[in-house]
Amino acid sequence: VNGIHDMGGMHGMGPIQPEKNELVFHAAWEGRAFALSMAVDGDWPYGADRYATEVIPPEEYLRQSYYEKWITSLVDLMLKSGMVTAAEIETGRAIEPNTKKGHALTAAEVPPMIATGGPASRNVPAVAHFRVGQRVAVADLHQRQLRWAGTVIATAVGVSLVAGQRRGWLLRSCGAMCLLLPHLIGPPAAIGQNSVPTELVHRFSIASVATSAMFWLLVGTLGGLIYSRNQADPNALPTV
């Protein structure tokens, strides 16, 4: 989302103002705001706090200091999750009983929480099929290109002979032969030792055949549909 938070490349924000001997927190409330945001155990999903900051209206986003924005987003999230009510935020006193009681972080739990963090890596149980540097056998490139071009030409000729109007059985048979021939000849053989697991080769064959079949069925169906629509009423105006 192209919001105010996406500041990379914006112009006109003025000079950078580094401070000499900057304090970690410039005032006590900054530390409290920081700690509150870290300690509250909300039920919102990962990244919701970031989003809650990003949707602060632009004029407010620019006006509020860093930890003011933290508090704005924290309050916003707690209101939405029902941990606090607007009246409670207004008065600073508990009115409603706490029904969504999150676990209140204890001082003893702070060091392990900081040491562990929340790693974003995912445990992917799958084992890679290939390793870097592993050799795989493929057919000669020129032979593959030749076969591809040959198949396309033979198929085009075959289709025109089989599907064309006013063709005798002999021409249609030749057409059928043209269609079949490239598949009877088969692809050029791979050169060298193939270290690809057989299971993977099978899965690839099935997947590629299924994908091709679906593609051609779709092309055929659509082609037929368009053809029959055009045939149905040659004088009809094209529909918009």
């Binding site: 509150l36 900081i114 963090g117």
Partner: protein, 242 residues
């Protein structure tokens, strides 16, 4: 300008037609959603005095049993006194003193940093980028304030400020000049835009004339700014204060 890594957009991996269509549809829906949520926020009350507001919030949350004051104190104490740029300085000094460690640090930063006992919150995944005579690295977080907490502590105000976030990616040399660092034209500048999940630490160049120094002495030379990439280290320079 060198590689700029962004988190905000989609990943640039291969997408098939269907994926693109779903993404486009999703983007259209998301736009509407976020618009609605932006309007939601129009009622947000402008806090007159953040100090009072935070105080009221804290007592409310304590009263409701949602936070424990002792935990707040412990959090503040940790980042005021325990976790800070001294940690990063030790990592840098070790890398200068021990070539094998430096190699580990550049190839598997998290594991190497963990050897010195640092890691965890807001630095779960860190990448160390090395400055050389011909390459200068600069770290920014254009979207917010992502920073490697375990080795540098909490970021300074300028790092989180609009001027730094906006300009680092379009005029890094200008930004460096504002910090008093003029780079020669033949030095390549690489700008690293941090994400919540991936944070960067610059390994500054070891200054000349420090060959006889101990690791502890070396650590004393390393400044926070040099580990963000807005400064170089001079031998006479004072290092980060504990």
């Amino acid at each position: 300008l060198g590689p700029v890594e962004r988190e905000s957009g989609m990943t640039t991996t291969r997408r098939d037609f269907l994926g693109a269509a779903v993404t486009a549809a999703g983007a259209a829906v998301t736009t509407h959603l976020s618009d609605a949520q932006v309007h939601d926020h129009d009622h947000q009350v402008v806090p007159s005095d953040p100090a009072l507001r935070v105080k009221a919030l804290e007592s409310l949350l304590v009263e409701k049993g949602l936070v424990d004051r002792a935990a707040l104190d412990a959090l503040i104490d940790t980042y005021e006194h325990k976790v800070g740029p001294r940690n990063g300085a030790r990592v840098v000094a070790r890398a200068w003193a021990d070539p094998a460690y430096k190699q580990r640090l550049l190839t598997n930063s998290d594991a190497a940093i963990a050897e010195l006992g640092y890691g965890g919150l807001q630095g779960e995944h860190m990448v160390v980028v090395e400055n050389t005579a011909k390459v200068h690295n600069l770290v920014v977080c254009t979207l917010c304030s992502c920073y490697p907490w375990p080795v540098l502590g909490l970021p300074p105000v300028w790092y989180k400020s609009a001027p730094y976030r906006s300009r680092s990616v379009i005029d890094p040399r200008g930004v460096l000049r504002e910090f008093g660092l003029e780079l020669a034209d033949d030095v390549e500048v690489r700008v690293w835009d941090s994400t919540a999940e991936l944070r960067y630490l610059v390994l500054p160049e070891r200054p000349a004339g420090t060959e006889t120094m101990s690791e502890t002495e070396l650590a004393g030379l390393v400044t926070r700014d040099s580990m963000v990439g807005v400064a170089k280290i001079a031998t006479q320079q004072q290092g980060v204060r504990a």
